[in-house]
Symmetry: D2
Subunit: 344 residues, 4 copies
């Protein structure tokens, strides 16, 4: 596919580095789309912006793009964040008005996080980590005695809190278990939830009705800590909760309380603070499985970032809509609440 | 479907008890098949046999059935073991000649064991139990640093050693991951393995080619310890092995050696001795997940035993072939090597 | 796997010929199992039997095996019919007592028949054949007007009459349509039908509740014409019936009556007489799709016959149970009612 | 969810009528979103527009929306076409600049068209319509003789030309057949096609390599008649083609030629002219199945239109992005080539 030789691509991959996310072939493809200017050392100052980024059709990276810079970037057609979120350092309204696509690569994390979530769910239900710990303490019990609190996912009542990209990546992994799935997602119509094979439910219905709950809601400006003591007390005694999106959506202390007293069990991949303070009581709480923000951060996922960016850049250069990356939507962009995070 | 009122059923459920495996409705259905004589207290002596079992059309339990007893049981059409194995206390050849069906209820364990096996596999691949242990020791690392040895099941090279009922129960759970599956099973033709979506392979091909191996071969008189140092050394460095059938098929010490030195990682639900001695080195071996023979022994599975037995007893009473329980086959019955086990 | 050189295999493939069902590689494998004697010309007389078949361990073909011959076949371990049925020319009781496996290759037909059945079902529901006929007559209507009697399989109420091998081969093809499936099969317990994702139902429930019914019951001595006027009148007005097993299970005239008056529509692959008489009224009946016993008789299926036979022969020669062919069961063998059919 | 009482919805459903696409409950929900003004009689004149539509937040229908009208519609946030296409009577560029969503309801047709396409494919492969025609002519042949040109979809080489919404709706229906699927779609990157389980291929590779080809490419300004004699001659002798998108993408005469001489067989749901002239040679062409633009136009699909519109209107009214309807994209909107069509 020929391209106008004048196309310019500005690639400033911080907090990542080019070689982590683009393999040789990805870079070759990117260079076939346009002239690639790479900036890996230090922040993108106004001088650097003016010199290299202002004329770009495609910017790849997390650089600040206030209106003042966007106004100068008159050829700009797309901005790719090489992280899985949309940061507040871009004037999105300006981009929407001008038809500039803003994208991120969150889809690369859906599969590994879904896999980890299923593993954490089976682990909670079947007591794998607990059994191993008991063996190492010399206190294991065998067979039926080991399983007095175990349950199976087969034909289980399962709930989803949030049913965005991540929740939808978990669903196919659950399908062979024949679960009944209730889902609560205030951004999604019942008709849509039904086409996914789930029952559109209220938060209360999910909390009351589920033996196992996946919390996969992203953090927004509206849902900080919306799962607290009241919600945990609504859960069935012995029910399990898997948290793989953002710690901010739960009242972490309340969750620990309800696990400590045996009302629920939970597995989490995220924490209010990371690293978790050495003395944090979560470290010796029963009925809990702690994973170190490792659900998404797989080498294989990182290697896919470049492929998503290149493939969508190729489409955009050809005047076609992108299809692999997550595209910022005017309605939701202001609701997301993400702070720049260190490299994961 | 009416039944001859003369049908007699002898039910001696040891090592289980009737109420664990038959609910009220199951018992009602069984009594609709014939007159049920229950013997729960102590062994079935010759006197008891003569008195109650000799005239039965259906015997449910693990009682000794040498030729001498079978010859007296002239109405006998089926014997159901309420455990998942075939014990050597029956004269099977006599039964086959006479058209007496001998059955066990192993199918009830396939689902829960498959679920646990998948959970153990994801746990090994993604480091869930290990991460939790590190948190409790205060040594966890986050994100990519936590995942230096992690791998994903998606599109992974997976191997099966054995592809009997249990292996076949794992396959649908793996399907959403899009794995390439090689299977070694000397009892199964390549054509059959292919219809299951797997590649018929040699043991070597499975060992060399797989990042994750499920060992689901039953123990036979021919395969004691056939997975030993030579086989473990053939595995890829960092590959994972999930053992959920019988400890006897592996050289347990060799498996511990290869885990300790980091060549493989494994999860096992079975042990050469249960309970495992308190001082056994497995308890402090790295790269290992230990589960306490808890994969199959779920209450829900036990509750299904009665349903399988009743449904097949109904079929047999109507002159139809059983379909839910495992039916003893003349060719393989002498190959199985199971000792009576305590109630699991 | 080495084999005793003395093994003898007698192969009399009539009404088929060797080259139709065994490719070169299949024959090589068969010759590796034992010395193969092929008899393709004419019937197997007693003299031929005595000379070549009496000493065989494995007989492949439809030759008569009354007790008198079986008694002489003292090495015999298995008899493979190269058709999809069990004929009454074998003393099955003798075989069961002696542990001689009797098998047929019906599994090769399950896939092609299931595919054709789905095609016939969609065609009936969506009016494909009818539309094409109307085009050729110049009477077609378009769009919504073409669809006044059309229905979709998606989320439809579907019924099965019979849920044997063939029905079970249709189920996975229906799965993407998300149907509710009721199944009536008097040989199968409700528990089993449920594990297949269907609802165990009475014949009446299937007839009343279904918009689309698959008739896949084999013909037995007990079910001749059991679907007659009474049953067709129980069906919903406009419901569709797909018949792909045996014409004998329906009252064919009644089925035509109910189609002619528009109460039902049907598609059939089988007929009371084949070829159907030229003047038969089925040929100009509306609401009917007629297929010429072509659902199973695919070249690719015929080519699989040899593979099934060879693979199971290899297992049997190694002392293992066969797994690919259909194995005769003592309980049901006398119930099947099949007459020798000409080559299909 | 409360709404501002000032919201106004203008509903002009021509060429449909309100009661065909909205049931009572749908209308209730719509009235809960805002005040609904319905205009069913005649075109929307400027006077009517000024009176009722200019103040609407949501316009439902196909009314002309040039810049002059859009400038007056200062509250407008979304325009729903109640057909499955985007017409050239809207100033899309203006809408994109202003953040006005333009949507259509094409997703309601994906399932019924996919089902019909599968039925047409099995029919072509297995000769169902042809067999029925032969029966009615008294020329049918049975069994293998009927199947000399038949092939099965199982494990078949299948091709897609276009892999948009419609193609993606066919894929799950094909999955149980275990096909190898090549797909050609110049708008989609290879990475995306692979995530759908297909092989990204050139048009030539699809044409050469496939026994069965689904043509599901929409008509654009760039692909008129791109499947012509050259392409049909590249297809395998005896290969089958299913056309369910737009007749404009093929050279219809060439397709008829290649079917008439037996090089290919095809099934089509669309025609260059509808109704097809009574004397058109397609009506007596062999190796062809003709369906009367009936694949999508199901009552059940039409009933879904209202639900999609209402659900997305509810989201938009709440400030959330629509998710069920098809959303116009700036890059592709000018490429589509659809003329207003009469009601289907």
């Amino acid at each position: 596919m020929p391209h106008s030789t004048s196309k310019c691509i500005f690639l400033a991959p911080a907090p990542r580095i080019v070689s982590d996310i683009f393999d040789e072939n990805d870079l070759l493809r990117l260079r076939a789309v346009g002239d690639v200017v790479i900036h890996e050392a230090g922040p993108v100052t106004d001088a650097i912006f003016e010199d290299s980024a202002a004329k770009a059709e495609i910017i790849i990276g997390q650089i600040d793009l206030p209106e003042s810079r966007l106004k100068r970037a008159t050829s700009l057609r797309a901005v790719f964040n090489v992280e899985g979120n949309f940061l507040p350092n871009i004037d999105y309204a300006y981009c929407f008005r001008q038809g500039i696509r803003v994208l991120n690569i969150s889809p690369v994390f859906a599969e590994p996080v879904a896999e980890a979530a299923l593993g954490m769910a089976i682990d909670l239900a079947r007591g794998i980590t607990r059994s191993d710990r008991h063996f190492r303490q010399g206190t294991e019990q065998y067979g039926l005695a080991a399983n007095t609190e175990a349950f199976s996912l087969f034909r289980q009542e399962v709930g989803f809190i949030g049913l965005g990209d991540l929740g939808r990546a978990i669903l196919p992994l659950l399908r062979p278990f024949g679960c009944r799935v209730r889902a609560y997602d205030p951004w999604l119509p019942a008709e849509y939830i039904q086409t996914l094979g789930c029952e559109a439910s209220s938060l209360d219905e999910v909390l009351h009705g589920s033996r196992l709950i996946f919390v996969v809601a992203g953090a927004t400006s509206q849902n900080q800590g919306f799962l607290g003591a009241k919600q945990f007390s609504s859960m069935q005694r012995g029910a399990a909760l898997v948290l793989v999106s953002r710690a901010a959506v739960v009242d972490f202390d309340a969750m620990l309380d309800f696990a400590a007293k045996g009302h629920i069990r939970f597995a989490t991949d995220v924490f209010p603070e990371e690293p978790l303070p050495g003395s944090h009581r979560a470290r010796h709480t029963d009925n809990a499985i702690l994973c170190a923000h490792q659900a998404g951060a797989m080498e294989t996922a990182i290697k896919w970032i470049g492929k998503l960016v290149v493939a969508d850049a190729e489409l955009i250069a050809r005047g076609l809509p992108p299809i692999l990356c997550k595209v910022a939507q005017p309605e939701t962009i202001t609701l997301f609440r993400s702070k720049p995070i260190s490299k994961t």
